[in-house]
Subunit: 366 residues, 2 copies
């Protein structure tokens, strides 16, 4: 992407990320701390910050690294976690979330990041950015810690829509493959369709139908289709991208989070049990910290909305500065790779399921 | 239960468990080792063992604790993990699995245990034992390690059927409550309905409908309904019984298993990283072993089939002797508590949703 929105005074080559400063559990100071972290690590990045300007200017003024790299858009209103998406769509015009998306829509930013209400953010994104041609249901994709060399697997949809038919699942496969290529640098990602068994006769009718459709697209869309996978494969090494409907995907990631939390709690208990085990925990502290970093959800914070005209990253509502910074980095990486344009071309290919192979081949690199 | 099937030479008061010796990944020697472990711990238990009699007699003869406590039913055939349920139902008459269920059907055993093919076991169980009056879809319930005082939560359905409508979910709630009372000793279990959010407007239509139906039954069926819960609550403390359809439940438990395995692998790696961390792992070995035992799936091995005329426990296909023994203990506990009869009375109450309160009150203890 080469657009350089001049309203922000962006330097040539700079990537501008539009950031909703409000709506997270921790308030705008954590968001500003997060973008400061990103700014320190990454000289190519600039920001448009949305929220009550006076308050935000004060927070930004404290961070020298942000000097001259932040533009402001004053918005009086905030979308809360309790607001219903339908209300926000009707009455949310003066919210920081609306404004953050508007910067992407107007082309003055290359991507948006928000810690706010997921349902409202998806509803607003669909209304303001519009779905890509050929996309029926957009999806939310997340990165999940795995034993694969890249350290993460992609899973989608994890909650944009509780339903998905066979064609939706095919589009998730294409979007997920594109995301794995551009976000994780995997040339030919392995795609799996989540089911209750790996045998082809198992599962719901729409899954069997999707199985055939995804298999038929594997060559021209340059991914490997491994067929049905199970829940145990989500953090495993047999697959890079896990495709499922938003209901199942949401339950799966929350179950994984809950299990990891239980494990951490019990591990902490185990180390506090006796003087010997307390000593052990001191000796092993660096190794344990390394383990913690490896599975720390803050480092892979950010669900990406796929299937829209523009890149939107949903950061966890309770993200701290490290989490916000990870979400910003993700938006930056995707913007820099021209992901949005590649994805648009990719899904357009499903609009005509019987397109010719020459055209497909030209898209195989996306 | 007081039936004392004399074919097995059972002593008065003895509980007889019918065990399918074949079909597990580890073969009959592990199954015999497992029942020997159970026999050692529990003088009240006797067995009927199904499979090739000559082979089984040799294995049993090596275990003195099994002397006089095992009857045999010779069966030449075995259900493999690859067999389709529909084939087994048609042609499985000479299999050890069929025979193991037959002992329950004939009343010569108080419950059955099998390590074999889950789909085939469920299909055979439905055909031979029949569904309880009022039950549309039977369910498989498992115990899941949790941070609750009882150490486990109940989840159902985890794979008997990929579909479930609102009335099925209500029956799962009633069956799960009854199981938690009889299997975990919880007088008034807390029931939650798995969804993608805890707000009442979220999720699929059948979930909203089930929410109302389960809430309406909470008082008369003597459970507390906590409403919608999320995947993160499955191993948590906010709920004792998690109700969901078999597709979602199956994905959830496998995701939890996969996450726990990843965590174990990474923990092992962390402890091997440096001389210091290796020393630490030695110092902490008892504490870590305690943690491992706490979450060891072998100790809670056994999915219980609910909604049938008789108790069937599905042990994990790859269970070792400890796993088989845990499944046998579960079948024993449920048989001893008269669970099958209590459950039958409980679900019968849903056949007439508008039954009178007096009748309901008399069933509140089940």
């Amino acid at each position: 992407m080469t657009a350089q929105p001049d309203q922000t005074g962006a330097r040539p080559g700079q990537i501008i990320i539009s950031v909703d400063a409000m709506g997270g559990d921790e308030g705008p100071s954590v968001v500003v701390a997060g973008i400061a972290e990103s700014a320190k690590k990454n000289p190519e990045i600039g920001f448009i910050l949305h929220g009550p300007e006076e308050q935000l200017r004060k927070l930004v003024a404290k961070r020298r690294v942000l000097d001259g790299r932040v533009a402001f858009r004053d918005c009086p209103d905030v979308v809360t976690m309790e607001d219903k998406p339908s209300q926000v769509v009707r009455n949310g015009k003066n919210t920081s979330m609306w404004s953050a998306l508007e910067s992407v829509r107007q082309g003055e930013a290359h991507g948006a990041v928000s810690c706010g209400n997921t349902g409202a953010l998806m509803a607003l994104s669909m209304m303001r950015l519009r779905k890509l041609p050929g996309v029926n249901r957009p999806a939310i994709a997340i990165l999940w810690p795995s034993l694969n060399p890249q350290g993460f697997n992609v899973m989608l949809d994890v909650g944009a829509d509780v339903r998905a038919d066979a064609k939706d699942l095919l589009q998730y496969a294409l979007m997920g493959a594109s995301y794995a290529r551009n976000g994780l640098g995997l040339a030919r990602p392995r795609i799996g369709l989540l089911n209750v068994g790996t045998e082809e006769h198992k599962g719901r009718a729409e899954l069997k139908e999707a199985h055939g459709m995804i298999a038929a697209f594997a060559d021209q869309a340059n991914f490997e289709f491994v067929g049905f996978v199970e829940g145990s494969d989500i953090p495993g090494t047999s697959v890079d991208v896990i495709v499922t409907d938003g209901f199942t995907g949401n339950v799966a990631i929350k179950t994984g989070e809950g299990t990891a939390n239980m494990f951490s709690d019990l591990l902490r208990e185990a180390f506090q049990y006796s003087p010997l085990s307390r000593l052990a925990s001191i000796l092993a502290i660096t190794s344990l910290r390394r383990l913690k970093n490896r599975v720390d959800p803050r480092h892979v914070n950010g669900g990406v909305f796929l299937g829209l005209n523009g890149t939107v990253v949903k950061s966890h509502g309770s993200a701290d500065a490290t989490g916000v910074s990870a979400a910003v980095r993700l938006a930056f990486t995707l913007a820099k790779s021209g992901f949005a344009e590649k994805l648009a071309a990719r899904v357009a290919s499903t609009a005509e399921l019987d397109q010719d192979d020459a055209q497909a081949a030209s898209q195989a690199e996306r």
